[in-house]
Symmetry: C2
Subunit: 484 residues, 2 copies
């Protein structure tokens, strides 16, 4: 057999095709604004364009890229369009993409310190940087009792926090014996659904996640939390964990962390703070009052992949007591033993999350922070908040529209006063047009539109156009309902 027979792409081929993909992405960045934001394909349409059977023989790279343009692109909802205002943003940026590319190229698997020391140490270092960049408490520093780790998503971070709380509350016996149905966790009715999922996964049960009522700003009522904890204790249960949110998904509500923390300390509960999108705002000192009390959190997380221009997936998760987390998630089979681990001088991040394997994700975060500097990140965050305030003012001043919730940062919840059907018609019309994309929620039982301003390239003209298009669709919806 000839030694040099190979189907692999050579480095020189990689260089050529790589330049072509980079060019394709640069062109995509230039034209994404002109593409319909929400994909207009119907269920099954993409699959119908793909061959039923896998290729027996390899194909030319150009043929693959042709299909990307022809088949894949029409099926993409353009999260990177400056006219994307749906959900929360999920931002890419040049430095983020290139840091991630380097991670793919190095192909490192960082489960242990020794399987790539740079993967572990850069991550620890950048997460320490972020503690000061976001004004987080020093106990989260790796030089203190805590430390940070990159998780894939806030769902996984919440699950890890809940597991650590479960173990702490049961003296690290649930891991061995299994759950006994007595652990109770707390969130608000507005907390992200991933907490419910975490309670299901962790064997705690969704019925044992109490959803505490909120006030008229959709923030958790700390006194209702205290009451529920007391009732559960009287019932012989084990209250263990509270999730407070800095900026709920539905309406960007801010839970009163200081008040909640007081209740947690009184009853010895683990306090997890979920700042998935809004944590990025803490780059700017003027917004940090929104998470007053964060110094009492046992864990905290935010997603640079949402609003901090670092492409998916990248969730930063800190704990105040790393021992509790490691004791919860650690396993050490023979085939992973090594000198560095035994010495105790290093971090092995496999003990900080669900998975064993892990990618070199800190590279993209490091690239982003170095490219923008703190100044550049702050500039864009402030600009997005300014645009959201502007949009909220337009809503407030329009006789047909109303704000549905406070808009403390970059999410505006609003609705047409004409009722649910009109709002649905407006949203469907906008999204079908492809001019912009926004999503909805329900607040006070009413269908509410959400305009989230945070996409990397969103500028004033995109927000102005969004408002213009909303007014047009409202006009059409009004005519339609009048003629109906």
């Amino acid at each position: 057999m000839p030694e040099d027979k190979s189907f692999h792409m050579t480095p020189e081929e990689f260089r050529r095709y790589g330049h072509a993909v980079i060019d394709w992405i640069a062109d995509y960045q230039s034209r994404v604004e002109s593409l319909p934001v929400l994909s207009q394909v119907k269920p099954g349409e993409i699959r119908a364009s793909l061959p039923a059977n896998p290729p027996a023989r390899g194909e030319a790279f150009a043929a693959v890229m042709k299909d990307v343009e022809k088949i894949i692109l029409p099926g993409v909802t353009h999260w990177q369009s400056p006219n994307f205002f749906g959900y929360f943003p999920c931002n890419a940026s040049g430095p983020g993409i290139l840091g991630d590319l380097l991670s793919s190229g190095l192909g490192v698997q960082g489960m242990l310190w020794s399987t790539s020391p740079a993967c572990t140490e850069l991550e620890t270092h950048v997460l320490d940087w972020l503690v000061s960049m976001l004004g987080l408490p020093e106990k989260f520093l790796s030089s203190s009792t805590g430390g940070g780790v990159i998780q894939d998503t806030a769902s996984s971070a919440a699950l890890c926090a809940l597991l650590a709380a479960r173990e702490r509350a049961t003296n690290y016996t649930s891991n061995l014996k299994g759950c006994d149905g007595r652990i109770v966790a707390y969130a608000s009715t507005q907390t992200h659904s991933s907490l419910q999922k975490a309670a299901m996964i962790a064997g705690i049960g969704s019925e044992n996640l109490r959803l505490i009522e909120v006030d008229d700003r959709f923030a958790m009522r700390a006194e209702a939390l205290a009451k529920q904890i007391e009732a559960d204790k009287r019932a012989g249960l084990k209250p263990s964990f509270v999730c407070a949110t800095v900026g709920t998904t539905s309406s960007n509500a801010m839970d009163p962390i200081a008040e909640i923390a007081k209740v947690c300390r009184q009853h010895n509960l683990w306090l997890h703070v979920d700042a998935a999108m809004s944590g990025t705002a803490m780059l700017c000192p003027e917004f940090r009052h929104l998470q007053n009390g964060v110094e009492f959190a046992d864990s905290y997380n935010f997603n640079p992949h949402k609003w901090m221009f670092t492409n998916f997936d990248c969730n930063c998760f800190w704990v105040a007591d790393r021992k509790a987390l490691i004791q919860t998630l650690s396993i050490l089979p023979e085939y992973l033993r090594n000198q560095a681990t035994e010495s105790g001088a290093v971090i092995d991040y496999r003990d900080w999350h669900i998975q064993l394997g892990r990618r070199f994700r800190s590279l993209k975060l490091w690239f982003v922070i170095r490219h923008y500097g703190v100044e550049g990140l702050q500039y864009h965050i402030r600009e997005h908040v300014r645009l959201a305030k502007q949009f909220a003012a337009w809503v407030r001043d329009d006789k047909n529209f109303e704000l549905a919730a406070p808009a403390p940062l970059n999410l505006v919840c609003f609705r047409h006063k004409g009722g649910d059907a009109v709002n649905q018609t407006i949203m469907d019309g906008l999204n079908r047009s492809g001019d912009l994309f926004l999503t909805h929620t329900k607040l006070d039982g009413k269908l509410t539109l959400r305009l989230c301003i945070g996409q990397t390239n969103t500028q004033a003209r995109h927000v102005e156009n969004a408002w213009k298009r909303i007014l047009q669709e409202a006009e059409k919806a009004g005519e339609h309902s009048r003629s109906a």
Copy 2:
């Protein structure tokens, strides 16, 4: 404020810097063979080279790339070196890297079908392709009762399978009420440690994961499994789940799936098959006998990111009954409701895994399959197996060495007959030299070296050199022990 002020990288800058990163990776591919495989840095060395504080102002891209070369590269253990024989491989390849780059550039978040139909449909399509490429049962096809999904790692796939089994066994009540400590799961003493971690996470408890004894080939004893299940049933417990392995991490042992499946059917247990590395071998029909009985599996997974040239992370996970999985992991808050989901005509993959958010990972898998074709993938797998058989023959023929386990595919477990200390010395000498990297396990209580041949670019000359270097280090270790 000027509309055009921005710290973002422009498309033209992205094009220029992107070409530079591609060139850096192409050069890396050309020189990686000459770099020490195991990073030679000491704990803390990387961090000591990084500035204590984050940059206040943005830096030039060239400055970042300079630090990649100077600071990061020495801290990398080169999983992409053809001299990497440790653990299991974690392969990158040109088409895999470029598919992943495209995923970063599109920046799609595919939690729902509607948030990028192509992300969902390409994934379903490619996982259907793989069912036929690997000779898996048709029930795993999306057109049948089952379906496939890309998970990050085999750890997460095992956790999802265990959760679905837990719910099925408790009539979908553990999700609501929490676990009651009566669920029992089964694996072998050789099963990957991620199963223990999954039992801990799922609230089942590691003591309720029974580790069944193995035979002299390190494969699970089906009759011991049956006995344990019966004992647990008599004790009033709920046997629910078995994990069988196609190629254990420690020694590439093959559990007898057909026999285990018979026990599972008899007692109505969920059978999960973990083929993390060795599943890739099933591309070649001549190896499929190693997983005889797979047609009875309730779930199955393998990692293209290990041996199939698709960069991390990419785990393919199939279930025979998708409803069981979805019912286990589904949540639907108002802000994720949409017409396509309500219609029931689409797959929303957020209900198939732990996380909510998800990256467009099928792109890299699609790129790899199209670049290589089935033929190209088969060629390289067969070549790796041929080299492993060759290496095993050299071991067998050497009077100082012995094989420690059967070597059915690409992993050879072997040891010097001189005992643990000699083997430790050989391994440390090799790894410290940087010439190659291998890792160890314990079999029959003895320290055993593992040579796993599966890195993308490993050819005959790398394996020949590995054996030469092993003999040299053995010689040195012998002299050392004689003079000591």
